[in-house]
């Protein structure tokens, strides 16, 4: 028994535990998210939503999962089989891997990479392949159009996503997400003295230093995760179901899981970059005496922020109608890209001026 406990203490052992925990909690969160999506949609439309399976209908997703498992797994004869089978896997893995770098409590992350956010962007870029391959391998017009739309859209908005996030790293001076979080928990330097009360710590969050950057990042994140108003790749009124039209059973469920896991990952990244990650104006150290409780408390703070963001994303989806494709490209290339470059230059100048002032 002691040997096992000691093994958990080693870097490899703790990593295995964290992988198991994150790898299981995220799908659970996704199942909760699907329920939340349907309930919020219903509430906004003055309906009730799924409320029969389990308390408040919370187990609805598990019933749906069971249905997916027992459905016939159709493999159409006209598809490119290797690519067709590869696409659903590619849809799930990148967002789950991207979650590995995001710190969900103090020193609690699966991989503490120096490149941090670059790894997240790299992995989320791989996600494009799932959509493009799925659409192409299906050998169906709707799926193909969906796949083409998805690849064009994701490549366009990835630029804005990266440029918007750069401002944060100019302020922080590090790409490590742990540093980004701790940098937001210091409090503000006013008149040469560090104020670390409740309000200074609140306004130390990057969302107050980078309001426009945060807004751009959030909009680009919506486009990256194919959420309304940017859900053109699967625009159901035009393209049947877009790139996953030809998928059924668990393969469809994997696309579904991947999409929602990507939402969780991007919300986690937004929380880390702009909303202070696992910190809460000093309250994150409430249980400093007991490390286990402290970690749980910080995970709860982080999860709370993520769930709030996820709710906002759902809320936007059921409020805003879909963009037209030319509007999408116009917004991405002609509006958001110049604005984000301008904001980046402004941030650079402001950071430089602040450094001069402090010195």
């Amino acid at each position: 028994m002691d040997a096992v406990m000691n093994w958990f203490g080693t870097p490899v052992g703790s990593a295995v535990v964290k992988v198991l925990v994150v790898g299981n909690v995220v799908p659970l969160l996704v199942s909760f998210l699907v329920w939340l999506e349907r309930r919020v949609a219903a509430w906004i439309q003055d309906r009730t939503g799924p409320n029969r399976v389990g308390p408040f209908g919370l187990l609805q997703s598990f019933a749906d999962l069971l249905k997916f498992i027992f459905k016939e797994d159709v493999l159409p004869g006209h598809v490119n089989k290797p690519m067709y089978l590869l696409a659903p896997a590619l849809a799930v893995i990148p967002p789950l891997v991207a979650l590995a770098v995001i710190p969900f409590a103090d020193r609690m992350m699966i991989a503490d990479l120096d490149t941090g956010v670059l790894a997240v962007f790299a992995f989320s870029s791989i996600g494009v392949y799932a959509l493009a391959l799925g659409g192409w391998a299906s050998n169906s017009k709707y799926a193909l159009i969906g796949g083409v739309r998805a690849s064009a859209q994701l490549i366009s908005y990835e630029l804005v996503l990266g440029l918007a996030a750069l401002g944060v790293f100019m302020i922080t001076g590090s790409l490590r997400l742990h540093d980004v979080v701790t940098d937001q928990a210091n409090g503000l330097l006013i008149d040469g003295t560090l104020r670390d009360g409740f309000l200074p710590k609140f306004f130390d969050w990057n969302i107050w230093k980078q309001p426009l950057g945060a807004l751009l990042f959030f909009i680009a994140a919506l486009a990256e995760t194919n959420r309304a108003p940017f859900d053109l790749p699967e625009a159901e009124s035009e393209l049947a179901a877009g790139y996953h039209t030809e998928y059924s059973s668990m393969k469809f469920a994997l696309f579904f899981l991947g999409e929602y896991a990507a939402m969780v990952a991007i919300s986690g990244l937004f929380t880390t970059l702009y909303l202070g990650g696992w910190t809460l104006f000093g309250a994150e150290n409430l249980f400093a005496g007991t490390p286990a409780l402290q970690t749980a408390w910080q995970i709860a703070i982080f999860t709370g922020k993520v769930v709030f963001l996820l709710f906002t994303i759902i809320w936007i989806r059921w409020t805003v109608p879909r963009f037209r494709y030319d509007q999408l490209m116009d917004l991405g290339w002609k509006r958001m890209l110049p604005i984000s470059i301008g904001w980046l230059v402004f941030t650079a100048l402001a950071t430089w001026a602040y450094a001069q002032h402090v010195r």
């Binding site: 003055d46 936007i316 409020t319 805003v320 917004l331």
Partner: protein, 187 residues
């Protein structure tokens, strides 16, 4: 003037950024979500809550008895003839008493019934009524052919008060008519 050119209001800068109008829309949806500002849920929790049916709602046809618990139906077969989909089948039978006939078998095939209400309209004895029962389901076709007992039971359960519980009458009427001719049918 073949066409009218509609003057569009010039959008303000805030409106052209998308952000402000979207925020406005989100306030509206939030109001609906939290049921503020006069919005309310329109969904009904069906098995627990049910609609108040309109007075003339035509549910499943049922048979009723009179106030004394006697069968009103005299198996005249009018409903059987008038029934457009031929859902009703009656085998008449003799009974003792002042009235000669009552149905031996009275089946309504609920899979055939189109709930038109002709049977109710045509019945001279006010013995068959359209009830408020609309939850008709079964596992087999045979199960959906409702026999006489079941139709009477449904008449008890789903019949509308004041209409099906009429203290009529045909017995009393027959008796009084016979008495006018010097006959006593009550024996």
């Amino acid at each position: 003037m073949a066409y009218v050119k509609v003057k569009r209001r010039k959008l303000t800068f805030a409106e052209r950024t998308y952000v402000a109008p979207i925020a406005k829309g989100m306030v509206t949806t939030l109001k609906h979500m939290l049921q503020l500002g006069g919005t309310e849920r329109v969904t009904m929790e069906y098995p627990e809550q049910k609609w108040k049916l309109p007075d003339r709602y035509r549910g499943a046809p049922v048979l009723v008895k009179d106030a004394a618990g006697r069968e009103k139906c005299v198996s005249c077969s009018m409903c059987e003839y008038v029934c457009p989909p031929r859902a009703i089948s009656i085998i008449p039978g003799e009974i003792d008493g002042p009235v000669e006939k009552a149905p031996k078998v009275f089946d309504i095939d609920m899979l055939r019934c189109i709930f038109c209400g002709y049977c109710e309209e045509v019945c001279p004895e006010e013995a068959i009524f359209m009830s408020e029962e609309y939850e008709l389901c079964g596992q087999t076709r045979a199960e959906m052919v409702f026999p006489k007992d079941k139709l009477y039971a449904m008449g008890e359960k789903f019949g509308r008060d004041g209409r099906t519980k009429d203290p009529v009458k045909k017995y009393d009427r027959l008796v009084s008519e016979a008495a006018a001719q010097g006959l006593d049918l009550t024996k």
